[in-house]
Amino acid sequence: MGMDRREFIKSCSLVAVMGLLFGCRKIPLEELAGDLPSLKRFEDEVKLALSQAKKSLDLVKIPTPGALKIPGASTLNRFGMAIDLDACDGCGKCILACNLENNVPLVPDEDAARGRFMHWVDMRGSAPFMCAHCGNAPCERVCPTGAANHTPDGLSAMMYKRCTGSRFCGANCPVQARKFNFNDAQKLGLARQFNREVPLRDKGVMEKCSLCLHRLQNDRLDFKTKLTVGATTADAEWRGRGVKTACAEACPKNAIIFGNWLDEKSPLVKLSKNRELYAPRELADLDPSVVFMRGRR
């Protein structure tokens, strides 16, 4: 062997240091056995976020969203929402409903002071504001791992386990709708799984409004199961009828309308028919699925 001992030890120690550095993240902390955060804390945080809401919305008119233009897109479904600015009074019930539905964690005090909440729904210009599920989503284009991707029926989905936390998507979202898990909410006792259907997110991944993906998934699977044992209804294809997002369900004024832009029977299409549709200026060219509506046409 030409390699002398010194060299050998040197290379060994190098490997050890690398291993140490890499292993740093995996040192098991003692499990935090503390109590789960109370519902009150979630309510308080929403109030705090409401009091901090500042940005006003710069809206421009857009046409009604049509079928997606990505390859393989469904011609039957494109899910989206319309937020009725005439009806909304900015009560913020949608934020709490969303947080509880999607197990959105609390943030530590210093983050809250800086306005760095995890809420998927923000209050901007006294109206709820969330990911617009752009048909031409800039976040998905720059995601290195493909964790942010589009479903054929118009959802900008987020695969948490595939996310490596480069935060490029967050930088490339023109409206900052994406939230990054800076903290290990589970370890800090800031997360609570109110809804078993939605997994808790790990530290270091991006998240955002999923348009209650789990509800759509469940509905689709149930529909397909029932379809094959003898469909008695007229629908031969799944159109997501009857699904509502948590925020839409919680809105006392019915100002958030969820539906399928391509389905004539969808409440979304019916209720937005004679209304002016708007989108944030930055998103107007990106084919958003979640839009605002105001006034009569």
Binding site: L21, V142, G146
Partner: protein
Amino acid sequence: MFKYLMLAGLALFLPGLYALGYSIFEGPSAWMVDSRTFWGTPISLFVFWIGLAHAGTLLSAIFLALDIKLDRRTALIAELSTLVCLVFAGIFPLMHLGVVENFYMVMPLLDARGNFANVGSPLVWDFCCIAVYALLSLVFFMTHLKTREIPALDKYRKPMAWLLFPLVLWVHTVVSLDFATAFVPEWCGAFFPVYFIAGAIFSGLALMNLLLCSEGYRVRLLERLQLIFSWFMCAIWVWDLMLKGSLCTSAFIFAGVLPQFRMIAVIRENKWGRIALSLSVLIGLFLERLYIVSPEFGSYAASPLNWIDWGLIAFSVGGFVLLFFGIRRYLSWKMEGAGSYFGEVDGTDLADAEQQELEKEGARGIEKPKKGFYIQPWASEEYHVLRLPLLVGFAIALVYSIWVLSQSVFANVEFSFANIVPLLYPVIALVTTVTLYLRAYFVEHAFTLHRHEKWMAAILLVLVAACAGTFFAGGSSQNSTNTIDSQSIGVDAPISQSHARLLWNARCATCHGVKGNFNEKFVREFYPVPQKLDVQRLDSLGADSLVKVILNGRANMNAYAGRLTPEEAHGLVNYMYSLAKEGEK
């Protein structure tokens, strides 16, 4: 001198290492993050160090390719600085990830699950370009280092230089595209490739001049280039200012104004003056990177950087000093000596030194190029060396891009050639280099490896294969902690026919049969036969009493009260009617 440098390096590196460890442990909340771009110091440092990494290949490879003479020692120092810079340029993007252990998902290779990195993302281009650049720079450096022992290797330097020439610019272009492709208003700029390349070359020159100061000599050409590039940077900043209406003033002062003091002879001729000029450029360019990466830093805090940020900066600077001067010392016998073209210890003029060199060359029979001199197209020696490997490189790149574009992962993605272009050259360069050196070793026998080198190569190959295998297999996720027991009772609401059928098949069909004609095999053997379904019988019993039977049971029929809701029972009764009707047909 060496001792002091090492001490200074350690003094910076050790606290920095602590900061690095802490920030890897704590994740991205440890350092300051721009609220809009989610990025902070690590990315600034990445862009900074990758820029500095251009010193080596720029000076060594591009000068070699373009027949601009540079002496061996300067070239080797430049190449070594590239390698050391790349170490730090590589650490920062990795440590900045939210989930560091998932970094391999950025590699554009298929994994066992059929997942593929999104090759349309500039970060994937980055990853590939930098990896290939690091590998090729290492090969280039080792080749140069070995030429004294194995002169036959000299033949491969110029072809490698031509390969690296586009690659080095490609790397920084791709780094610039991280920003230029994004929607952040401060990052918008189709001119970013040129901007970043100019900045990279500028900072690389400053680093080289600084390192040459520590060597105790100077290369005027590099100093002049540094001054010229400061003008060019200023011109680009003018354009940036026109486009966006903002300018990083501190960067402008440090890297735009202060370098002009080179025009004053007193400063230029003093070693400390030159050090100050180079340092000012480096500081200015770091501030500029900080400003680009985190445009909102100035707005919400008086001091945007916390101790982690400073620690990371210290880590990279200290680490560079330690690593560079350590290796420099270790290899000193291989680097020093040999003729120098225009490295000058004292104030002799560049032109003189160069003239002498050229005269020496002329005496050796090397013809000085003069007007009208030309080489036949496609006739140069380096082209002959490169021809076959390049062909292989292009072929593999073509195959690779077709393979990538056909991945099923991209079935739902709008994808075009433009998304994959930035990935092509690194693939070509990598394959070409590998082919070139494999041919040199196995076919041309241009060099031989010592036994321990062979061992190292074998171990390296095994390691690479093991890493690739691990990445291919990927990690597995933790199973749910949820437990499943029996089905809980449904919602008490009217149910559809198909729902009723599913319920029937699960709950009733065991005895009553899927079609209502009872399950012979099961029932005859063990139990009294249940009643057959027919419309008459159902009518005589009535729907309400049937619901009661389902819920409360009767004779051999069990009570389902805790397991079915009354509405579900209703649904089942309706379904029984439809089964009965079907049976009669």
